[in-house]
Amino acid sequence: MSEESIISLKNVNKWFGDFHVLQDVNLEVKKKERIVVCGPSGSGKSTMIRCINRLEEHQEGSIVVDGIELTGNLKNIDNVRKEVGMVFQQFNLFPHLSVKENITLAPIWVKKMPKAEAEELAMRQLEIVKIPEQANKYPGQLSGGQQQRVAIARSLAMNPNIMLFDEPTSALDPEMIKEVLDVMVDLANGGMTMIVVTHEMGFAKTVADRMVFMDEGKIVEEASPDKFFNNPESDRTKLFLSQILHQ
């Protein structure tokens, strides 16, 4: 199984001080697979996906991304980060740069792309997220939904094989959630390998190949969306689903 998987986590453990935030986490993700990770807050789901591009360091176990093992080796880390794009809850756009510059910055400086080519690429990415008319504005002039779409475009401009989404819609007003989810659905339909931490169960039902439920640093349940929503095995999952589906 691990041969065709693009991401492989084996017995990953991590502590924040004495707090055991990831406990023997095992996860295999195949190419073009869409995984939705959910669970109560503090369950370690964000920490897990942040370990995949080494924003957090795991202390035990192994993480292999596209054949590259994440260790202290800085070159490996750089190579993994070129493969993996990430979208954050707080967008994290660069406020001193225009939308277009936000997108072209990494292609120009990390990939050494000529400026004209990078700008063309930026415009193409902005078309994909449906806001080409905002190219020359600054992040502070955009709505939350628009900012998050720029953040997605910025990641896509690096042409990653894998996209990680860390609660991409949690900081958005309700009427803006849909515009971001639409972009993510398009991306999923285009065959991107995705790991999405979200509580948007509607999104999970439409795009997820597999649901991962985490609690207290452990993966409690892994199942197809159909089984996960209709016939979950663990009581903890049932409780969680009853809480978020009937709020």
Binding site: N53, K82, M86, Q90, H96, Q141, R154, S155
Partner: protein
Amino acid sequence: MNEMNEVRKPPVATTGIIGWLRINLFFNWTNSLITLFVIYCLYQFIPWILDWTIFSADFKYNYLGEQITNQEMCSRNLDPENGGACWAVIYVRFYQFIYGFYPRVEVWRVNLAYVMLAFALLPLLYTKLPYRKYFLYFTYIFPVIAYFLLNGGLGFTEVSTNKWGGLLVTLVLGCTGIALAFPIGIMLALGRRSKLPVISMMCTLFIEFIRGVPLITLLFFGMVMLPLFLPEGIDMDGLVRVLVAVTLFQSAYMAEVIRGGLQAIPPGQYEAAKSLGMSYWRMNLLIILPQAIRISIPPIVNTSIGLFKDTTLVIIVGILDLLGIGRGTLADTNWLGLSYEIYFFVSLVFFIFTFGMSRYSLYLEKKLKTGINMGAD
């Protein structure tokens, strides 16, 4: 419904000059009383200061029409009832105030350096300058040109730095100190926040040591102790020794100011930069520092103004800057007792430079605000 759609104007009494006066100066009777009192004080003070500095002042000739060559010929010393400031002292000693004891034949070199300094600053101050890129190249090589121009070499006769003085020394110390301390300060600030304990400890030690010592001590250190650390046979110029001390001092302060700006950058900015595959240096140069420096503009300018004024302390180690020349003039029996005029002039020159810096920082803040626009949150 029609009435609702009409644009309602604010009440007349709150707009225009009258409205402004009413709201700001005559809001109630205490406010009005204070306004009237301040107007009365200004009425008493302004005519007096204008009279002393301009209308009754001597510039070159006294009220008898004689050219002033010493303090006894000042109108106010000839006739205490009739006469204001005696600016003739500045007129007579102007050369020393501006160039120190730089040889008169070679003074065109200093003048050329002053003009070139203005051209070097132009692209930094005015970002919309046409052909700014080429002006910037000039800015980068200006320090080298200025060194050979002022000091000599490359065919120019050497002018030893102990002949330099006045505004020349003040500007050399101020500009070099500020310009060198900026990059060193950035490196120290990054170093202090580094995850590598050796680097972070070394930077912290350096900053804390330099900050914990008065500038005067550092100047003595530069003058007396620096030569002891140098290999035998190498003699370091006095002005350079002072420059080293001033630069070290300023870079420690600059480092702390920039560290303050760095701390204001949310961790998400680092994470976003890293997740795009940026290396440590790219992340800092392209993402973190531009934002941190923008936030720190007011304190950066504040410490720079502080340093510019602190350069006057070099008088302690026998270097005559603008203030030093002023004090030297006061000690001259020809010009005894003209301390008002001399200190007024020195203060005015310092004020022109520091006020310029402060206005520039305001302009920068205003200009950069449009870009960073945090308005959405």
